[in-house]
């Protein structure tokens, strides 16, 4: 998310799946879309039938590659070198969409002299603090003008007093040189930064032949511009690296240079994971975020009081000037009448975070006994978590664990069924963890909504009652909350913060049915927001106020229930075949039902569509309003020729000219260069994975200088080019199975289709190791050994890097020790490593070794396939 958030202003996908059919070229990289988003791949196929070129950049020739026109085999972990090469090709040959780049991006903005690039510091940016492993962004700012970054928890100026400094944004424009000749304008900085990313360097680093590089480069260039657009699709093949955010930044830069953002058939489609992972990022299950991208107050920031918090998070220019309205409305929604102006709307009730409490740090805290209890709802980390063996051992040091799930999966059964117990490393009699296994009602057994990969909120009604004691999360959370409130009501100090936090909550939703389940649609009504006085719903987030007169659980979702009882997420009316083709009556896409973000850029600076074929949103001079096939991502009445009048210190949107499509960013321009916001740099630079068989060919700095490597005895890390672990290994998904496997390996029909864990290796590697197709092999790292069947296939090709051959090994990671289809847990092999900005793990590129034959103590573990699943007899 920060990758897209820092480049364009919002962390969501900029376009929609169905819009891919309007593309002339689609690049799928860091994703196997046909396998993992098969329904969305329908539109890639529609585009292909209309003559589009489909390119799949992936270490493996997967099912997606078989349908693509071009498959580009790439070494796992080297995407920035490849994308940098493409950026360099576009810049050196002046092939960027100049009429788009100059007005809509910060290419012309001039950066301060203090900035030093990786070319000057051999892989580091200026302001790097080795102890903290972080950058100070102060030296990256525009010349004489610091600028805050959009998005939640961005890295802002270290001096914390950046408020007065950024206030100057409302006084004078950011210095620019439209001729793009100024040595310190962003475009020249980009040219110098990527100058060494030549096709030869790309071949040396990624193993991609130069001819293929040139062909892809030409396809991209020829399918961008006024008449044609290129779309990019990515998923965890990009995010799960210690430099994942910067890979996405590189793609954002390339798409901005080619002028593909905000236009039909263009954009970057972040293919989200679980069914409503976008929803669980908007109304977050994240430790560091309040609903709809407001920063969670932190003890490490000046967040003591509401005023300070707003000062730190607000941006004087751009849409985030409305920050106060959204935080106050949220507090009014959570604390109702208890939230009054005098007590800063109960701002002190919000817990403060004290550091990184994400998945891996949390797991280490459990292992070290800092956490006694764990609620595990909708996750199977014993299979899906990194260094899963460490996770299973960590769970043993919990006092209690509440697991709510449809099945008893590997995590719930860690204490008696895990490989550690079977190998005698853990004795069930010694494990003190008390496991409460509560049956959970699954998606079809409860009301609720899915927010899919292109921000589309779709409501679904309960289809069938959950069997027996199975209850949904709303029921569990509501009734748990009521019981805690009763308990805390008898607390001796009723006024203590601990008690007020709970009792001041508006915790009274209407209940229905004899199971007394909360009416979930009333929660959506609360998220949509309402006027406190007459409880009438708020029509749009523009109506929210910061004086406590409005309450809103999530400002981005404003407008989903504009009138009592009316839920636009229920809409199921597609556009007719003849158009307009944006399907605005199917579900509700935040913000304000907009389908393609930044669509102001689909018109030229004067507000006319770039071409007839690519018209989407345009300026209607007569009515003086923006109109088109989609909800304009721009103030409706702001004319294209509007220029801010600096003498009147314009704030918010008034500070943006009529040609600034990226309204969420302080200067309204697409950030090729990110002056602030990210910990690892204003520009992407190629670093090797933490465990890599090759030295970094571009810089002395081997790995990302700001990633976190947890040096613990249980987490040994392989050295660079370690002869004991010579092969690059990556993990991927199968269409037939679903993540940790609970929702597929238990189902006979799905277990039958991929019954055992296997690993894909090339014929050359198999010949080298004397492995036949179908043999057992043991894949091992310094952390664990796993046994899998070998699928020897021509679809995995060894990479030739600068005369040296590097073998790639690829394995699905769905398998676990329970269910009909079983196998060793591939994630036992991974290491505890997290990326800067969002602490994501690095499961897509590390090193391993493999040998023929089964694991050492293979005999006491069940043979791969269970085969004992009960057959549903034919009548």
């Amino acid at each position: 998310m920060p990758g897209l958030g820092t480049s364009f202003g919002r962390g969501g996908a900029t376009t929609a799946q169905w819009d891919l059919q309007n593309a002339q070229c689609i690049v799928i990289e860091g994703s196997s879309m046909a396998e993992n988003h098969p329904v969305a791949y329908r539109f890639v196929m529609k585009a292909k039938e209309r003559g589009a070129t489909i390119i799949h950049v992936d270490p493996r020739f997967s099912r997606t590659s078989s349908l693509a026109d071009l498959h580009v085999p790439i070494r796992p972990g080297s995407d920035i070198a490849w994308l940098g090469g493409l950026i360099n090709y576009v810049l050196q040959n002046d092939l960027y969409f100049r009429e788009y780049v100059i007005p809509y991006t910060n290419a012309a903005s001039i950066v301060s002299e203090d900035f030093e690039d990786t070319e000057d510091l051999d892989g580091l940016f200026s302001g790097y603090d080795p102890e903290e492993r972080r950058h100070q962004v102060d030296t990256w700012q525009y010349e004489g003008q610091p600028v805050p970054a959009p998005g939640y928890n961005p890295v802002q100026l270290s001096t914390q007093e950046h408020i007065p400094q950024t206030e100057s944004l409302t006084e004078k424009p950011i210095p620019r040189d439209e001729t793009l000749q100024h040595p310190r304008c962003v475009l020249q900085i980009l040219k110098r930064h990527f100058a060494r990313y030549t096709p030869e360097m790309v071949a040396k680093t990624c193993g991609i032949p130069e001819e293929l590089f040139h062909q892809v480069a030409r396809v991209l260039v020829e399918n961008s511009g006024r008449e044609r657009t290129t779309a990019w699709c990515y998923a965890v093949g990009w995010t799960q690296h210690t430099k994942g955010v910067q890979i996405i930044r590189a793609a954002a830069i390339l798409q901005l240079l080619l002028g593909n953002i905000g236009r039909p058939g263009g954009g970057i489609l972040a293919l989200r994971g679980h069914a409503t992972i976008q929803g669980s990022t908007d109304i977050p299950t994240l430790y560091d975020m309040l609903p709809t991208y407001l920063g969670q107050p932190s003890a490490q920031k000046k967040h003591e009081h509401l005023e300070e918090y707003i000062q730190t998070e607000q941006s004087p220019t751009g849409w985030w000037v409305n920050y106060p309205k959204y935080i106050v409305s949220l507090l009014k929604a959570w604390y109702g009448d208890a939230a009054r102006e005098e007590n800063e709307y109960c701002f002190d009730h919000l817990p403060r975070i004290t550091g990184d409490h994400s998945q891996l740090p949390m797991t280490m805290a459990i292992h070290d006994g800092e956490i006694q209890g764990l609620f595990l709802m909708g996750q199977n980390p014993a299979v899906g978590g990194q260094h899963a063996g460490f996770i299973r051992k960590a769970l043993a040091s919990l006092d209690w664990m509440v697991v709510r799930d449809g099945f008893e999966h590997e995590t719930a059964a860690f204490w008696y069924a895990s490989p550690e117990v079977r190998r005698g490393e853990m004795d069930p009699k010694q494990i003190k963890t008390e496991v409460f296994l509560l049956p959970a009602a699954l998606a079809g057994e409860k009301d609720g909504s899915f927010t899919n990969t292109h921000r589309l909120v779709q409501w679904h009604d309960k289809a069938v009652e959950a069997p027996g004691d199975a209850r949904g999360e709303p029921w569990f959370m509501y009734h748990l909350g009521m019981r805690l409130r009763k308990l805390y009501a008898q607390d001796p100090e009723p006024e203590s913060i601990r008690v007020r936090q709970l009792l001041d909550l508006t915790w009274s939703y209407p209940l229905e049915g004899e199971r007394q389940e909360p009416v979930v649609e009333s929660v959506l009504q609360e998220i949509n927001g309402y006027h406190v006085t007459d409880r009438k719903p708020v029509q749009s987030f523009e109506d929210l106020q910061d004086d406590g007169s409005t309450a809103c659980g999530g400002w981005l979702y404003c407008g989903v229930m504009p009138e009592p009882g009316v839920n636009l997420a229920r809409n199921r009316l597609p556009d007719p075949v003849e158009g307009p083709g944006t399907h605005r009556n199917w579900g509700y896409a935040w913000p304000s039902n907009r389908r393609i973000l930044y669509n102001r850029a689909s018109a030229d600076p004067d507000g006319k569509p770039w071409s007839e074929q690519k018209r989407l949103v345009w300026w209607d001079p007569e009515q003086g309003v923006w109109t088109g096939n989609d909800n304009p991502d721009f103030p409706r009445e702001k004319a294209p020729d509007y220029r801010p009048d600096w003498s009147r210190n314009p704030r918010g949107m008034d500070a943006h000219p009529g040609t600034a499509p990226f309204i969420m960013i302080a200067d309204g321009l697409g950030w090729l260069y990110a002056p602030s916001g990210l910990q690892d740099g204003p520009l992407p630079a190629h670093y090797e994975a933490v465990e890599s068989p090759v030295r970094n060919p571009l810089y002395g700095q081997q790995i990302s200088p700001t990633c976190q490597v947890y040096h613990r005895p249980e987490n040994p890390i392989h050295a660079v080019d370690d002869p004991a672990y010579p092969y690059v290994v990556t993990s991927y998904r199968l269409t037939e199975h679903h993540t940790g496997g609970t929702m597929s390996r238990w189902i006979p029909w799905l277990a039958e289709m991929q019954p055992e864990a296997f690993v894909e290796i090339s014929e050359e590697l198999a010949a080298e190791k004397g492995i036949e197709n179908g043999d057992w092999v043991t894949v091992y790292t310094a952390r664990a050994e796993t046994e899998m069947r070998a699928l020897v296939t021509p679809r995995i090709q060894p990479l030739h890097l600068d005369g040296r051959t590097v073998h790639v090994v690829a394995m699905p990671w769905h398998y676990g020790y329970i269910g009909l289809a079983q196998g060793d847990v591939a994630n036992d092999l991974c290491s505890l490593v997290t990326s800067p900005n969002i602490s994501i793990h690095e499961a897509k590129a590390f090193t391993c070794n493999l040998r023929p034959g089964r694991r050492a103590n293979a005999e006491n573990t069940p043979v791969g396939h269970a085969g004992n699943g009960e057959r549903n007899q034919r009548s």
Binding site: T53, D69, L70, H71, N93, D94, L95, R98, E99, I102, P103, I110, E143, P173, I174, P175, R176, D177, E178, T179, Q181, H182, P183, P199, E210, E211, L212, H214, Q215, R218, V219, V221, E222, P605, R643, P644, W646, P657, T659
Partner: protein, 374 residues
């Protein structure tokens, strides 16, 4: 636009109109002057981006199949079916022998006629039991007679079996009457009519003896379908030889058999065996390469040794040898020959059926069988 020096003041107004860019170099020119290396590029420019697909329509890979997995499914008939083929054949041969002999109703042939009719009856009685035993749902055996479908050999077989059953029952009934009450008026009155009807029964009997071959031929199994012209006659010849052998064996047990009748039966049996050998050779010729499963392997050896060797050639040799011996040894040799014929017939049915089933697992055989005619 002069190149701004370091000291130039930044322009005051935020955006003028985007200054017209330096002359945009046409794309074609750029691509040329960057000395593109892309050998693949021409394809792309020719509008066909995919350099990955085969260019010249791939020629038939010699050994193409899908992981060697079967292309057709084998009918998992158990031993009942080949046993039925043999038993039906014997009954058919016996009936025809009896019916032919009965045409001249010579007293010396009475023993042979009686044996033939009783064998035909038992065969006709055992056959349906074997067929029904092999059914997945035996309790629905009567569905075999639910329709009359000429294009289904099994349906035609079912109806033929009914007809044959009727004729054998009638012939056997007639035989019982003759044995028990040779003189009664009824017997004398029925005999001439019976004899005509019995002769008419030769047709369904011949069908029973032949259709089982055609049933196999009307499938996709190369071994069976590939010998469609000869497998029917082969089964019929085998039916006749095994039928006569059975008559020979059982008639001796039921009482003395005249020398002359014995001599004529042996001669006829010789002819049937000769025809069977000829048909086997014919089938081999017709099958050509498709006969691979019977050229070697378990069932191939069984057919060659058991059926052809012991079942056809040996009895002929024994017959020749027998001619030069005194009656007693000739008789025992004759019995041995008939036993061998009977056994050989059974081995042939099992060999052809089982070898055909195994051949279903060989996709190459089926693909050869389904090559388009030249």
């Amino acid at each position: 636009m002069a190149l701004p020096t370091e000291t130039t003041q930044p322009q005051t107004d935020l955006f003028e109109e985007a200054s017209p860019p330096a002359a945009i170099i046409p794309l074609q020119e750029v691509l040329e002057n960057t000395r593109q290396l892309a050998s693949l590029a021409p394809e792309y420019l020719a509008g066909h981006a995919a350099a990955n697909q085969r260019k010249d329509g791939h020629p038939t890979p010699a050994e193409a199949d899908y992981y060697g997995l079967p292309a057709i499914k084998k009918p998992e008939w158990e031993w009942y079916i080949p046993a039925y083929f043999w038993c039906g054949g014997v009954a058919s041969g016996a009936y025809i022998t009896a019916a032919l002999l009965d045409l001249r109703h010579r007293p010396e042939d009475a023993a042979l006629v009686r044996a033939g009719r009783y064998i035909a009856l038992t065969g006709a009685a055992v056959s349906p039991v074997l067929l029904i035993a092999d059914l997945g749902r035996p309790e629905r055996w009567y569905n075999m007679l639910r329709v009359f479908r000429p294009r289904s050999m099994m349906n035609m077989g079912a109806w033929a079996l009914v007809a044959f059953g009727a004729f054998t029952a009638k012939a056997a009934g007639l035989q019982v009457l003759q044995d028990l009450a040779p003189e009664s008026r009824v017997t004398r009155w029925l005999l001439p009519v019976g004899r005509v009807v019995t002769a008419a029964g030769i047709a369904p009997a011949a069908v029973i003896g032949t259709y089982t071959g055609l049933l196999l031929a009307a499938t996709n199994v190369p071994l069976w379908a590939g010998s469609r012209r000869t497998i029917g006659p082969l089964f019929f010849c085998s039916a006749m030889s095994t039928g006569m052998a059975a008559v020979d064996l059982t008639s001796r047990m039921l009482g003395p058999v005249s020398e002359a009748a014995e001599e004529r039966l042996k001669k006829a049996e010789g002819i049937a065996l000769g025809a069977e050998l000829a048909m086997t050779a014919g089938a081999a010729a017709e099958l050509g390469g498709l006969a691979k499963p019977l050229a070697g392997g378990k069932w191939g050896r069984a057919l060659q040794l058991g059926s052809i060797g012991l079942g056809m050639v040996a009895p002929l040799v024994l017959r020749e040898v027998g001619k030069h011996l005194s009656p007693r040894p000739r008789k025992t040799l004759g019995l041995l020959a008939s036993a061998l014929v009977l056994a050989g017939g059974a081995v042939m049915r099992f060999a052809i059926t089982e070898a055909g089933k195994e051949q279903c697992d060989d996709p190459q055989a089926y693909f050869d069988y389904t090559r388009p005619e030249a």
